[in-house]
């Protein structure tokens, strides 16, 4: 009898205290933040700074441990995240392509829907560019040139066929009813030198006029621009009213089955981390604009990107 009573009492106590308890015992161990890229790059630098800042805002004084899992076009890190326990102790810091492009080819061991959006931190701006001394001065002249020379405008992307830059540019070409010629490159060093050397006429990448470079933008295909007054006069596709836009986001996602209260705890720690001096300092140094979004807004960005990419990839014959 006494035993049964004790059990009942314990059950009662659990039922009453369940909601706050569940939240407080998370995180119960260090959070593993997978970075699907090698150490030393921009994404890695941000992931580490945000992890350091966010652990100060986590309950139970738990740490966030950054683990680099590069390879397979960043899909290996995401595969590891989707195979981990859905208890919120494993998250992945990613960029757009492995989440909203790679799974659409149907070869990855995960789908976009297997992930729960947590926080978005910033976007990488991208534009259609020409060389600084090109005869094409602005957007109107560019449209005129490509319309009178169909298929002659060669543009390079750093990721090759089926990469984010390729899909975004073809989406714009379709919206404008123009014909461009894609030249694939591997890495932005070769892409940039090829444009500067005049082998190709344009690129889709982050311009570098603000750093004294010669990659001059014509139109931004992202809604954000680098925070430098030199780009004030350059339009974005959104400003032009075009239905062609891409968001190269960077943020944190986790397993889709992570309980909502745990997602909220993680998200609020990451949101708070955005305000830390170290993270703000990185934004200034890399000349990026902070653009925080919570689970819902970030989730909507992801869904929208998947729908757009699927349409363009079908039209290009990249997927059925």
């Amino acid at each position: 009898m006494t035993i049964r009573l004790k059990t009942t009492l314990a059950a009662l106590a659990l039922a009453i205290g369940a909601a706050p308890l569940a939240a407080q015992d998370f995180p119960e161990k260090p959070i593993e933040m997978i970075v699907p890229y090698g150490a030393g790059g921009l994404t890695d630098a941000f992931a580490r700074a945000i992890a350091r800042a966010a652990e100060e805002h986590l309950p139970n004084q738990q740490r966030i441990v950054v683990v680099n899992k590069p390879g397979g076009g960043a899909t290996i890190g995401l595969t590891a995240a989707v195979n981990a326990d859905a208890d919120g102790h494993t998250v992945v810091f990613l960029t757009a392509s492995p989440l909203v492009i790679q799974p659409l080819y149907g070869k990855t061991q995960y789908a976009t829907e297997d992930f729960q959006a947590i926080s978005r931190f910033y976007d990488i701006p991208a534009s259609i560019n020409v060389r600084a001394d090109s005869e094409i001065a602005d957007y109107d002249q560019w449209i005129e040139w490509v319309k009178t020379h169909p298929g002659d405008f060669t543009y390079g992307t750093s990721g090759g066929t089926g990469s984010g830059g390729h899909i975004a540019t073809e989406e714009l070409a379709d919206e404008l009813g123009i014909e461009l010629r894609h030249i694939p490159f591997e890495g932005s060093a070769q892409l940039t030198t090829s444009l500067m050397g005049g082998q190709i006429m344009g690129t889709n990448q982050l311009p570098d006029v603000h750093r004294g470079g010669e990659i001059r933008p014509i139109v931004f295909v992202t809604p954000t621009k680098p925070a430098d007054p030199v780009y004030d006069a350059i339009p974005t596709t959104r400003e032009l009213g075009l239905d062609a836009e891409v968001i190269f986001f960077s943020g944190v996602v986790g397993h889709k089955d992570i309980p909502a209260d745990r997602v909220a705890i993680l998200d609020s720690a990451f949101e708070a981390a955005m305000g830390s001096a170290d993270v703000q300092d990185l934004f200034v140094k890399y000349q990026l604009t902070p653009a925080y979004a919570g689970p819902e807004a970030f989730g909507a960005i992801i869904d929208n990107a998947v729908a757009r990419n699927r349409k363009t990839m079908k039209r290009l014959g990249l997927i059925d």
Binding site: A39, G40, G41, A45, T108, R181, R211, E214, K285
Partner: protein, 503 residues
Amino acid sequence: MDFLTNLDLIMLGSAALSIMLGLFVGMLFGALPGLGLIIGVTLLLPLSYAMSPVNSILMLLACYQGAEYGGSISAIVLGIPGTAMAAPIVLDGREMAKTESPGKALAYSLYGSTFGGIFGGLVLIFFAVPVARFALKLADPEFFLLGVVGLLAVATFGAKDFVKAVISVALGLLAGTVGLDLFTGSSRLTADFFELYEGLNLVAVAVGLFAFSEVFIMLSGRINKAFTFEAHHMKISLTFREMLGALKAMISGSAIGSFMGVLPGVGSTVSCWLAYSTAKATSSTPEKFGKGSGEGIAAPDAANNATVGGALLPFLALGIPGSASIAIIAGAFIIAGIQPGPQMMRNNPELIQTIFIGFMATTVGMFFMGKALTQVFVRALVTPNSFLVPAILISSLIGIYSSKGQFFDLWVALGLGIAAWIMRRLDYSIAAFVLAMVLTPIIEVSFRRALVLSQGDYSIFYTRIYSQVILVAIAVVLGFAVLKTVRRLRDARLAATTKEAVQ
């Protein structure tokens, strides 16, 4: 020279310490099979956050410089090149170390490295902008031709069996195509392993082909075998005469290295092999190549270290980081609050000047630290294999796993190691295989991209002026080789007939 007045002793001291630390880590990681430059730089990176911008950049550059030389130490002492690109150094370095004098072999390598480092540094300091501008004019047709020239270097390896060399090259070309195709986005020869989407991991390949196959050979031989040398053969120094003899090779190697280093993605791959075959083609004693020629060691080593200055050049002049290691160093610039770009030289002249001076200091420091450290490494030759084998295996396994964190790569290395061991027993050339494999991405991608750009018109490969220069160079080298062979045959026949006449 007003920056000299700004120098104080504490700053100088801390800079010297940073350089020494970078050199030490670089040399150590370069020399240990499997571990290499990228792992060394990545390891130093967190440390660099806590240092002053100049010191952190100098430390990372010193690590780069040190690792390029360190790779030659294991190539010569163990027959295991640190990277696939350092493979040519094994050809003569290992031979000289075994048969003649390990100290001399390492000295040729160290002198060559130092010469190349200084040469590359001077090009960087005095010609950064014009060279970077000129390099921009080279495009895919030229990269394709340079890749083909690199492939021709196979002919200079002195393969015993031509057919087997060709088979090695063909297998290497095939291995180089593994991964996602840039032009169609489809995967090739990946058997649905995501670990292969970015191609075979070069660290796993180098370890498997060189380290593992060497270990298997050690195991199948006498396990307690060790070489014995007299004390003076262990001394790392060259006589003035020997130095002079290798000077031509060092100059041509340095020139090739510092210019090739400028070309992003192409340079570091081709330069070492090109330096080796150029040195052989222009040598007065080409018959010594492959049998322990000092020139055959000094030329590729000079090229290796000259590429450091070369690779830094487009970054400092144009803000374009041309190699993976420079990209990591570029990160250190940004952390230090310096935006890499063409304006860097204008906006931060003191910093750039300090880096230039520090860069020269790293090469000089490398010489002395190399002399000291190599004394220790050369002991590996007189260490019995029963001690070497476990040490090599541990270092290799750690290196492969830490390069990407994939167990899969360990299997790749093991498979290639067994394959390479069999190939070596059957006299197939591992060097030819690796050369073809690392050149495939350059040759294939440049070839296809050039044709995409020209819309299928093959004339793009011979109508451009720079392509023509390379084509003429290829023709001259080939013609020279044919001429040499003809002359040798005629001399041989002449000797035979005079002999007959005497009899």
